[in-house]
């Protein structure tokens, strides 16, 4: 297109955006506001929770976890294990269709698994264990392992991080590093690309060809029965506006209510306040092991003793209904929960911290804490943490920045004098850190590890042992070893779990408790 043509095109399109009407809104449209905007439409390329939520709308999964955390078949009719635990055979259920009407095949599943396994943490751990993955017939595929390992089911059913969404083989053929551009799924909703306005609106319509399972919906498992015609996801940057719009009946559902607005929502008629996400988010902090002062184990321990986690939550959330202090490296209330070394992690013990600092010969090196000001679940914690560290004798510098800048600063492996850092606070969905293989926060393989770059072979070896373990008893024992080593060595210091309150109109019924926000099973009374 030539320049003279392009410029009038902008004018015409702009005029169009003033005068063109949106399609008539159906009587059964669900208007929802999520925690942040949807930027990336490929849930494999990005670990963003919004990309994941989008994935659950339009794609389906082979397995899913129910409200009790139990793995259930979803797209699968059944699976079987043979060859002494080395061969898994998966059979798809009848009636699965893509949004373009074509049947879902075993070949699609294999291609999706192969793409997913290149990027997901559990998928990457699984890859060396797989000898062969092949379609057997149209609806069956098998995976042969080098040695027995039942991590495969856990990996396929994981609800967060990068869940294993099944895509058509032609789409899954896209290199895992490149975002897909074809959004054909087989999930209960269809993505309406023609109405997608990045940063403003995302539209989904009920997929009439979806065949729900017969079981009742439970968590992410069971029958995904869609009871509305359309879901409009309205991107709203201002949470106060979202709450006002909810109370005015303009929208139906707000994923996350800021804690300071809870009293306002609680007193609003026609609005239900609920914690529909049952697992919660683990808050933790990591040290930079590469540079002083936290290249010294005793100094790291001193900092953990100095910081009292209850004070962090009080400052950040205030309302104890929405947080639990606990020392579990693999998540409070999760299957591998442990309270080992809780006495080190939870209370503030400046006396012990001072002793350790003296023993370590702390030279007054500056501690730089990265404070992410635009993440409402962790923004205030670094300020409290800094004061606790100062009281123990640390010299502390809190540096405030937005999340984007923090990500960039956090990747700097240099010393604090060259833009490096000493501590950052982070929050993960509990299902993303609930075992040693899937959790980034316990990685301790030096410069290949997650930010902080601890080099603790005992932890790394234990993670590998966990991946190869085949019974729950071994797994629990290994996880316990990691719990102790990770805290003792300052790989991670857990703060506890926070819960995010959601709010929705009392006209809605059937809102499910699940690890991610989902909109099947939801009815709207007009």
């Amino acid at each position: 297109m030539s320049i003279p043509l392009r410029i009038p095109m902008i004018g015409i399109a702009a005029l169009t955006s003033i005068v063109i009407a949106v399609p008539a809104v159906s009587a059964t449209t669900l208007s929802v506001v999520m925690e942040s905007r949807l930027s990336v439409l490929d849930p494999v390329v990005s670990t963003s929770h919004q990309s994941r939520n989008h994935g659950y709308m339009i794609y389906d999964t082979l397995l899913a976890i129910d409200a009790n955390g139990t793995i259930q078949p979803q797209m699968l009719e059944n699976w079987s294990v043979s060859d002494e635990g080395k061969t898994y055979t998966f059979k798809l259920r009848d009636g699965l269709l893509w949004h373009d009407g074509q049947p879902v095949t075993a070949e699609d599943c294999v291609a999706s698994i192969e793409r997913w396994a290149q990027v997901d943490r559990m998928g990457r751990a699984l890859t060396p264990m797989i000898a062969e993955i092949t379609p057997v017939d149209e609806k069956t595929f098998s995976i042969k392992l080098n040695a027995p390992a039942d991590m495969i089911l856990t990996a396929f059913a994981k609800p967060s991080g990068i869940p294993l969404f099944i895509m058509p083989a032609r789409v899954a053929a896209t290199p895992a590093k490149d975002p897909i551009t074809d959004y054909t799924g087989s999930g209960p909703f269809k993505f309406i690309a023609s109405e997608f306005e990045p940063g403003a609106k995302v539209v989904y319509e009920k997929f009439d060809g979806y065949l729900p399972r017969a079981e009742p919906a439970s968590g992410l498992a069971g029958g995904k029965v869609v009871k509305v015609d359309r879901v409009e996801r309205i991107e709203m940057s201002d949470q106060l506006t979202a709450v006002n719009a909810l109370s005015g009946g303009e929208i139906d559902y707000v994923e996350t209510i800021p804690y300071d607005l809870l009293p306002m929502v609680e007193s609003t008629p026609g609005v239900t306040l609920a914690t529909v996400e049952p697992f919660g988010y683990q808050v933790s902090y990591r040290f930079n092991h590469l540079h002083p002062p936290f290249d010294n184990k005793l100094v790291r321990q001193a900092a953990v003793y100095a910081i009292g986690t209850d004070d962090l939550f009080k400052a950040q959330i205030g309302n104890p209904d929405y947080y639990i202090t606990c020392a579990a490296v693999f998540g409070c209330g999760m299957p591998l929960e442990s309270e080992s070394l809780a006495d080190m992690v939870i209370p503030a013990n400046p006396g012990k911290a001072k002793e350790l600092l003296k023993e370590a010969g702390y030279d007054g090196s500056r501690v730089v804490i990265l404070q992410t000001t635009d993440v409402p679940t962790i923004s205030q914690m670094p300020v409290v943490m800094a004061q606790q560290l100062r009281e123990a004798g640390f010299k502390v510098d809190v540096q405030a920045m937005d999340f984007m800048t923090m990500l960039s600063r956090r990747s700097n492996q240099g010393p604090t004098s060259q833009g490096g850092w000493s501590i950052f606070v982070t929050a993960w969905h509990n299902t993303e850190i609930s075992d040693p293989v899937r959790s980034a926060t316990v990685t301790a393989n030096g410069k290949d590890a997650w930010a902080g770059w601890p080099d603790i072979p005992a932890v790394t070896d234990a993670i590998e042992a966990y991946a190869a373990a085949v019974d729950d008893e071994s797994r629990t024992e290994i996880a316990e070893r990691i719990q102790v080593s990770a805290i003792d060595e300052g790989v991670i210091a857990p703060v506890g779990t926070l819960m995010k309150p959601s709010a929705f109109s009392t006209r809605l019924t059937g809102v499910l408790d699940a690890a991610t926000p989902i909109f099947w099973n939801v009815s709207k009374e007009e």
Partner: protein, 313 residues
Amino acid sequence: MLGYIFRRILATIPVMGVVALIVFFLLRLSTGDPAAIMAGDAATAEQLEDMRRQMGLDQPIIVQFVVWLGHLLTGDFGISLHSKVPVMDMIASRLGPSLALATLTIILSIIVAVPLGVLAAWSHRTLMDQLVMGIGVLSFSVPIFVMGYALIFLLSVKLGLFPVQGYKPLASGIGPFLHNLVLPTIALSSIYIAQIARITRSSLLDVMGEDFIRTARAKGLKESTVFLRHGLRNAAVPIVTVIGIGAAFLIGGVVVTESVFNIPGLGRMVVEAVLARDYPLIQGLILVLSLAYVLINLIVDLLYTVLDPRIRY
């Protein structure tokens, strides 16, 4: 005149070139990494590198600049790093709501502020004058977002008269279109009404002291005729200047207003693009907004010749 317009339009080319240069390098010098937000918090260093490569951010800055400039010269603003939609399409889709809001704001500001300014000047040193100026000081002092939240609380949440948020295009009907824009327009206009009313008053008072006004009065003209026909016409140049400056500064006000009222316009897009470090989108937006600024100034300059025949270009 046509020659002047042509020269002014030509002059925008180097201006836009300088803007392009500054915006490109300012962005690259600022902290933040679009690949990091796209890859997500859990991305490994390797995944991050792959993402940077895929986005072309692994190239030297100068190479990135030359590639971008090359595309720009063919009218191609590039592709959004995050949504993978052409920047030009994204801007076009968001221009409408911003244009509607800005236009209504300017219209409301003029039809409210100019009569208020005239009234204040007419009632100079009376209670009415002080009242008008007092309201002006108040509305000038209240930040747009405070005004917005106050209007939402009173008129939407409490009285249910207007929607809290959102935008309806004109084709939905003039009623819904205006209904959604009433509150944002009032919130955004408040500062401009105060500015324009004050300048109208002071310009009129200056002009009313001129010799030709005394002559008009000596001829026996009615005071209202003296005020509106002779006074206001001659006070128009500074008023138009302030309106022009106000229109340009609306760009900043639109950012806040669109966020508070959740209007999917360019203002919100600017904030989102900056937070996501979506370089091509930020660059495209700044270029379009700069062009709008230059064009508004050109229109104001041309209006001078209409209002004051003594001005010639």
